[in-house]
Symmetry: C2
Subunit: 256 residues, 2 copies
């Protein structure tokens, strides 16, 4: 099923890529509330993903960003056809196609694909791998890094929910070696590659984080909510390259 | 000379790329002040650039991030071997090799190269082009966009100099359609591609911005300091896709 997910991500990427840096008809999902671009590419890609799933696994459910939930027999594919739509719209590179398979408790496999670069990240169980230019290598997070040596990444502190979250994030940011902004799914991919040590984001949806969880865990990392809880249904997420660093960061983000 | 700059950027990229996502020996240039990574890749690439320049244009000067200024006969190559070193270190994609030629007043040509994707952006006079996968196309900024429809990008609001700059930036951010963080040189490349309308960064150095100026201007954009002044020697920079939008943003960032 992991190989099916990889091929499906590639098929969706092939639909998305011609729209990248091309003319896009943009809609606003939540007009007047917040800018949340939906592109034709996003919808067309989710249609392709749903078609492939219903042809191959007709009894499975699907939950996608664009077209919501179709109930299944207990296994549900969780899909974000373009994670990082703002980056996509701006012609930048930190976006990807995300696909997970959720067993009702946790995602049992996850795939990320960047069609412009042709990169794939995939994880299931206790392993994860990266493929680029025909070469597949095992993913390993960086181990043994203390807070003072850590590289922290967040998509944007503006996505944090409230002043309390922002102040706890700022406290964490003051203790790390390096903090950088931007990334969406790509920052968690970098964490799985052992180049980012802490990934922190507020208010992620299930489809934003589920596909990344098996990649992070399969590479040796830890991912939870800020209170240590299960991240599978989304929320404010903390990913770390190793358990000790995760505990240190959790102490700060978890708050009193 | 533009073609020489393109070939030199490619040569530097070939030196840099094997270090990307590999093992790097990191040094701190400003220990205890702020984290500013310098990699072996950075230095090795600047050496290659300097060798090529002194072989081909022995009378020209060179000013590079790593090895400072060598005076010449009035024309100076201005070089940042890896712009976006933090992104580079984090294994992410928004970084590039930057080369400009400065006549003492302004950069008369500029090149940006992303070696992982193989992309090139180049500009001189009133034209600019982009090359990827063997295809070269003219660059054109997006014209006729008002502030309320603009896509704004900044590398990080943390790079702004003081509370006054941050509050003026926040005022601009409130008026645009979409604001995104992260990017370094890549956000200005996206502006030249017509996908970002406003690029704003604090405290850039001459070598960060000079190579991008001919690309932005050649594509139809405008780039100045926040007070409308010449950006060639660095400072807090405002780039816009078209003159009217630049004036609107300048009114807010220029302050009282």
């Amino acid at each position: 099923m992991l190989e099916f997910a990889v091929q499906t991500a590639r098929a969706a990427g092939a639909v998305v890529l011609p729209h990248f840096r091309g003319e896009l008809e943009i809609q606003n999902k939540l007009q007047g509330v917040e800018f949340d671009p939906v592109t034709q590419a996003d919808k067309a890609a989710e249609v392709v993903i749903r078609e492939r799933i219903s042809a191959r696994y007709p009894s499975h459910g699907v939950f996608g960003e664009e077209f919501g939930l179709v109930q299944g027999d207990g296994l549900t594919w969780v899909v974000d056809p373009i994670d990082g739509t703002k980056s996509f719209m701006a012609g930048m590179l930190h976006w990807g196609v995300l696909i997970a398979l959720f067993d009702g408790v946790e995602p049992i496999l996850g795939v990320m694909h960047q069609p412009f670069t042709g990169e794939i990240w995939a994880g299931a169980g206790d392993s994860a791998w990266y493929e680029h230019a025909g070469r597949r290598v095992a993913l390993r997070t960086r181990q043994g890094v203390g807070l003072g040596d850590a590289v922290l990444a967040t998509t944007s502190p503006r996505f944090l929910r409230d002043a309390s979250e922002r102040s706890r994030f700022a406290a964490l940011e003051r203790q790390v070696r390096l903090s950088r902004y931007g990334g969406d799914c790509y920052l968690y991919a970098s964490l799985a590659m052992g180049l980012v040590d802490l990934g922190v984001d507020g208010t992620l949806s299930a489809y934003d984080i589920q596909p990344l969880i098996p990649i992070i865990r399969g590479a040796g990392g830890v991912v939870t909510l800020w209170d240590g809880g299960d991240p599978s249904l989304g929320g404010s997420v903390l990913a770390a390259g190793c358990p000790a660093l995760h505990r240190q960061a959790l102490e700060i983000l978890g708050g009193p």
